[in-house]
């Protein structure tokens, strides 16, 4: 399955013909500046932390300020770089990772901000695809497995990039996907015989009718069967992983998600999104973040350790995003509220030079102090690393040209 095969529908072709009638050349419309540069990353693991993760309690501590709250900063493997004490294990991996501490968001409501962070666009009359769909739209599939997989939650829709760029949904890591095996009670032999007979039946029909749509349906069946029979499917089977590894990542949904993400990229999956919620800490922020730390720290640290040890980190970008940060001010319920003016992100691998911090926020973590980074710059950076021209335009089925990323600029310092 390769997303590039996505064909213009008849409707789109009719529309295209219409557009050319009154003088606009379709080739002009489709043209784009192709700035080629070598890719530094081939794969992405995106951790999506829904709800708005506090930046001060994670990547951007403010020691000595009233906004700091209950957590102390700790030193990391990078001299001078401190992060929150909720990440004791991960702190030893920071030489492999960069932090951006000056993301200047503009959206303070969950819906709009999530949309913005996941697509680079703001919501409008057209639904924009998520960045994962963009990546698999532009790059070939290297694997029998679906090129784009989302774990423990839904990924944004592919929209005008077409159905073949939708994420493959795994409801919980390690959980069996019933659609990958024959139904209960159907043996391998019987199932295979059914498939064989189905191919015969469809061929007979094709001998009576000729239509390209019939052959493409057959291709989709073959893709499905290839996946069902692929040895790469073992990436989904966490019960085959030794107990020690499972324990290292943590016996949590998130830990298993991170582990599964590793196993998927090892088998060539382009884009894996691991979802986690519960960051909307309007009250009791600190116990909640302690808990998040306990869950995330072993998982992220083990993932970084394993990827760097195997060398996979060189071509795998690991990035953690959330829709916004949280208020420097601690409210009356010991919580923090939505804060979009400045927040941080964790980004590593795939050509990112580890051990650096891009930008900073002011002394209270309220506003960007230097090197503000726009939300779309993060998407541009990701595309840049993957060798994708983020300014490329694609046509929607209604023939509106849309850029892959909404006018971002790659943060080039990350790569130097």
């Amino acid at each position: 399955m390769a997303c590039k095969d996505y064909k213009l529908s008849r409707r789109a072709m009719m529309g295209a013909a219409g557009a050319s009638v009154f003088g606009l050349n379709i080739r002009d419309l489709l043209a784009y500046s192709s700035v080629h540069h070598p890719a530094t990353a081939e794969q992405v693991i995106l951790f999506w932390n829904g709800g708005g993760m506090s930046h001060i309690d994670t990547w951007d501590p403010k020691p000595g300020r009233p906004t700091q709250g209950e957590f102390n900063p700790i030193n990391t493997s990078v001299p001078g770089m401190q992060i929150s004490e909720i990440f004791p294990k991960l702190s030893k991996q920071m030489h492999n990772a960069a932090l951006i501490r000056s993301i200047a968001g503009t959206q303070g409501a969950h819906g709009r901000a999530s949309y913005n962070l996941q697509t680079s666009y703001l919501p409008g009359p057209i639904r924009h695809p998520g960045v994962g769909s963009v990546v698999v739209h532009e790059l070939d599939n290297n694997s029998d497995l679906p090129p784009y997989i989302t774990i423990s939650g839904q990924a944004p829709q592919a929209s005008y990039l077409g159905q073949s760029c939708e994420a493959y949904y795994v409801s919980a890591p390690g959980e069996k996907d019933p659609y990958l095996t024959f139904p209960e009670g159907i043996t391998q032999v019987r199932g295979d015989r059914r498939l064989e007979q189905l191919a015969k039946f469809n061929q007979r029909f094709l001998n009576k009718k000729n239509d390209t749509r019939l052959t493409s349906t057959q291709t989709a069946i073959e893709d499905a069967v290839r996946l069902m029979r692929s040895p790469a499917l073992e990436a989904f089977e966490l019960d085959k992983v030794d107990a020690k590894t499972l324990e290292r990542y943590g016996d949590t949904n998130f830990g298993r998600g991170a582990l599964m993400a590793r196993r998927l990229v090892e088998r060539g999956v382009r884009f894996v999104q691991v979802n986690r919620g519960g960051f909307d800490t309007h009250s009791n922020n600190f116990p909640a973040m302690t808990n998040h730390g306990e869950v995330m720290d072993p998982a992220l640290a083990s993932l970084m350790e394993d990827l760097s040890e195997s060398g996979m980190l060189e071509k795998t970008m690991v990035i953690m995003l959330s829709e916004f940060g949280r208020t420097p001010r601690i409210n009356d319920n010991a919580g923090r509220d939505h804060w979009a003016s400045v927040f941080s992100c964790f980004i590593a691998g795939g050509g990112i030079k580890g051990g650096q911090v891009i930008g900073s926020s002011d002394e209270d973590g309220a506003m960007p102090k230097d090197r503000p980074v726009q939300v779309a710059d993060i998407h541009a950076t990701l595309c840049h690393a993957m060798g994708i021209d983020h300014e490329k335009e694609v046509m929607t089925p209604l023939l509106r040209p849309m850029k892959l990323v909404d006018n971002g600029v790659p943060v080039k310092e990350l790569f130097s």
Binding site: Y6, G15, L24, P125, Q157, E175, G277
Partner: protein
């Protein structure tokens, strides 16, 4: 300049249609000749293909054996017409076409007033409410969500004037002026000012929400919120209230084409009939009656009567002032739905034609403009004029299309190259290959597999399922009663599956939630006084979902001081699978659901079209899904079982029946031989038939219309 051209073209069309034609086919064939088309039609489908095609198109599923038998019992020369009449009167007709309108109007059961609107649409189709009246009330109504189901339409876009300008024109006239919201239209004649002048009709309408009861309603404010010039073009102080105006071409008032005269005559007749029966009380009547009551009362009765009268009057007041009528929007509705607005009828006819014939006269179907003219303007105008002349009857329109030869055409024969195929299909001389609508595909599998009803006798289908049970240990270390324990399927319903009804249903189907259809009760939705409550339950915000998820996580977490034990228990269930109709389920279905995977859109975006390309996910769902699996299995109560009794096995009859049931045709001699072989290899005749049915349900022949 462009508009006058369009009007001139329109005027030319109606003159011509009057002289030329009595049927769609004769108009089309004359127009094809005038366009220089020399090719001949590929001919009509046979009776069996027709009944399959028409059933799927009109009632959203393949025909049953009984329906086939009845159809074949009718006289050959009348059976197609009789079938069409029967299908249009079928209860499923309204359900099937609710899906069409749901796509058109972007109906969503999870937005405020959405469910009631879907139910209203369903009823309007059933009762054949004239399309112009239907559209008018959607455009103009103010009122409470749910109670006045029509307001669901503008609440779907939060009654935002700019959004409504785009939506109303694109949906009801097939004109895309939305691009002109931000800049003059690149492909079209519409300017930004045109856009704002349409938006201005919605300028005084407001969405209100009571903080206390959370009741949502629309009403009119004093000031318009639509100002000109736009925000980015002028200082705030320079911006003035925009005057609404209608920039679209209308047939001149002096002209009276035949179809308008016919429509007006029809209207007059209807008004007379209505006046004869209309004795419902007017406001004046109510007041007079109240006065009467007070006068008639004597002594102590007076107080009661006065109180009653007051209450009645206050009711009227509350209603009257709360939901002010929108004069602007009534004006807009009048203009959009006027018989003099050709775009209204033509864009709708084009959509219905596209749905039934597989290709619109104008493509894309919502892009009517000068530079994108219809392929057959006279035919389109003819059908549209008939539609208006028949009083905008939707059922009549569908009937006239389905009874035409065009609808009944075959697909191109083998050996025709792609270029020639395109020529034939473009001239409506051959029918394009169409895949069933996702909802119809779902329901057709359910029909073929006898899954609307129970197909096993009680006890025949028992199976053992395993459940993980977390048991709270009492102080002495004794497990509590299992009934109070926290039961969870091994595969577990995940909180991400937002539709709670869906997550809770079907004991045997853990892991297959994406194939279930939970029907909405349309009638109940319209009767419900406070349907808003239901809307609220369905339309959970992200935050609410988040809170629920956290709550669930917390519940799983052992409470301090309590001890739990996890046990796997086995439980026997009599798993007689039944499936409901996908036509009536809450829409849009969850992401990843069968009907979404096969093309139902999210209905978020204006102009969203169904993607009917095949995908791997579709294949996985069909090959390994529960629906196809259960549909394939042979139930003892099914007709085919009588041919599979050991000792009295009638293989040929069984295969024949399966072909009739699933593919609506006889097997060929080759196919019969192939099927027999397949059965011979199987462990039992039942297993063989199940394999055969599985293959057929998965085949291209099944999902593409004949």
């Amino acid at each position: 300049m462009a508009r006058t051209l369009l009007v001139a073209l329109a005027a030319f069309c109606f003159l011509n249609s009057d002289i030329q034609a009595e049927t769609i086919d004769s108009v089309l064939s004359a127009e094809n000749s005038s366009l220089g088309v020399t090719k001949q039609s590929v001919g009509l489908v046979d009776d069996m293909a027709f009944v399959r095609r028409a059933s799927v198109d009109l009632i959203g599923r393949i025909p049953t054996l009984e329906e086939l038998a009845e159809y074949q019992s009718w006289p050959a020369e009348q059976r197609r017409d009789m079938l069409v009449d029967k299908l249009i009167d079928h209860p499923r007709f309204a359900d099937r076409w609710t899906v069409f309108f749901a796509d058109l109007l972007r109906l969503r059961s999870n937005v405020t007033g959405g469910s009631a609107l879907i139910a209203h649409v369903n009823r309007s189709i059933r009762e054949d409410l004239p399309y112009n009246e239907f559209a008018s009330s959607l455009i103009a109504t103010n009122g409470k969500a749910g109670r006045s189901p029509e307001v669901g339409f503008i609440l779907g876009d939060n009654a935002d004037p700019l959004a409504m300008a785009s939506v109303t024109t694109q949906v009801f006239m097939g004109v895309r002026i939305s691009c002109a919201q931000c800049h003059d239209h690149p492909f079209d004649i519409w300017t930004r000012k045109d856009f704002y002048s349409v938006a201005a009709y919605f300028g005084k309408t407001r969405r209100y929400e009571s903080n206390f009861t959370r009741v949502v309603y629309t009403s009119e404010g004093e000031q318009t919120s639509v100002l000109w010039p736009p925000q980015d073009e002028a200082e705030e102080s320079e911006r003035k209230a925009m005057i609404p105006s209608f920039p679209f071409p209308m047939i001149d008032a002096e002209e009276k084409p035949e179809f308008i005269a016919r429509y007006e005559a029809l209207l007059k007749k209807k008004a007379e009939a209505l006046a004869a029966v209309d004795n419902s009380p007017s406001l004046d009547d109510l007041l007079a009656a109240a006065d009467g009551k007070v006068e008639a009362a004597t002594g102590s009765g007076v107080d009661v009567a006065v109180a009653e009268a007051r209450e009645e009057i206050s009711k009227i007041d509350v209603k009257g002032s709360l939901y002010k009528r929108s004069e602007y929007r009534e004006l807009l509705a009048d203009q959009i739905t006027s018989p003099r607005n050709r775009l209204f009828a033509e864009s709708f006819v084009n959509r219905v034609w596209h749905d039934l014939v597989g290709r619109g006269f104008v493509e894309p179907i919502d892009d009517f403009r000068e530079d994108n003219p219809p392929s057959h303007p006279q035919t389109l105008a003819y059908i549209a004029d008939e539609f208006v002349g028949n009083g905008y009857s939707f059922k009549q329109l569908v009937k006239s299309i389905v009874q035409s030869d065009v609808y009944q055409l075959k697909q191109v024969p083998l050996g025709v190259n792609e270029l020639e195929q395109e020529e034939l299909e473009a001239a409506f001389l051959a029918t394009p290959m169409r895949r069933m609508l996702s909802e119809a595909l779902y329901d057709s599998i359910v029909t073929a597999g006898h899954l609307f009803d129970v197909k096993y006798r009680p006890g025949e289908n028992e199976r053992i399922i395993e459940q993980e049970v977390r048991v709270l240990l009492a102080a002495e270390g004794q497990p509590q009663d299992l009934a109070t324990a926290d039961v969870q399927d091994l595969a577990g319903a995940k909180p991400q599956m937002t539709n709670q009804a869906m997550a809770n249903n079907n004991a045997g189907g853990a892991g297959y939630k994406l194939e279930e259809a939970i029907e909405l009760d349309f009638d109940a939705l319209l009767e419900e006084e406070d349907e808003v409550e239901l809307d609220r339950m369905v339309a959970k915000s992200q935050e609410e979902l988040e809170a629920e998820r956290m709550q669930m996580e917390n519940q799983r977490r052992p409470r301090p001081g309590m001890q739990y034990e996890t046990k796997v228990v086995q439980r026997t269930v009599d798993d007689n699978p039944r499936f409901s109709s996908a036509l009536r389920m809450a829409t849009p279905a969850p992401v990843g659901h069968f009907v979404r995977v096969f093309g139902q859109t999210s209905r978020n975006d204006l102009g969203d079209i169904r993607d009917d390309n095949p995908s791997m996910r579709q294949s996985l769902m069909m090959l390994n899904g529960r629906l196809t699996h259960e549909a394939s299995r042979v139930g003892t109560l099914e007709p085919v079982s009588k041919y599979l009794v050991s000792g009295k096995l009638q293989v040929e009859k069984a295969v024949q029946l399966v072909y009739h049931e699933i593919l609506t045709r006889d097997p060929s001699a080759d196919e019969l031989a192939w099927a027999k072989e397949l059965l011979a290899e199987a462990k039992s005749p039942q297993a063989g038939i199940a394999d055969l049915r599985w293959v057929m349900l998965n085949s291209n022949e099944f999902r593409f219309l004949p």
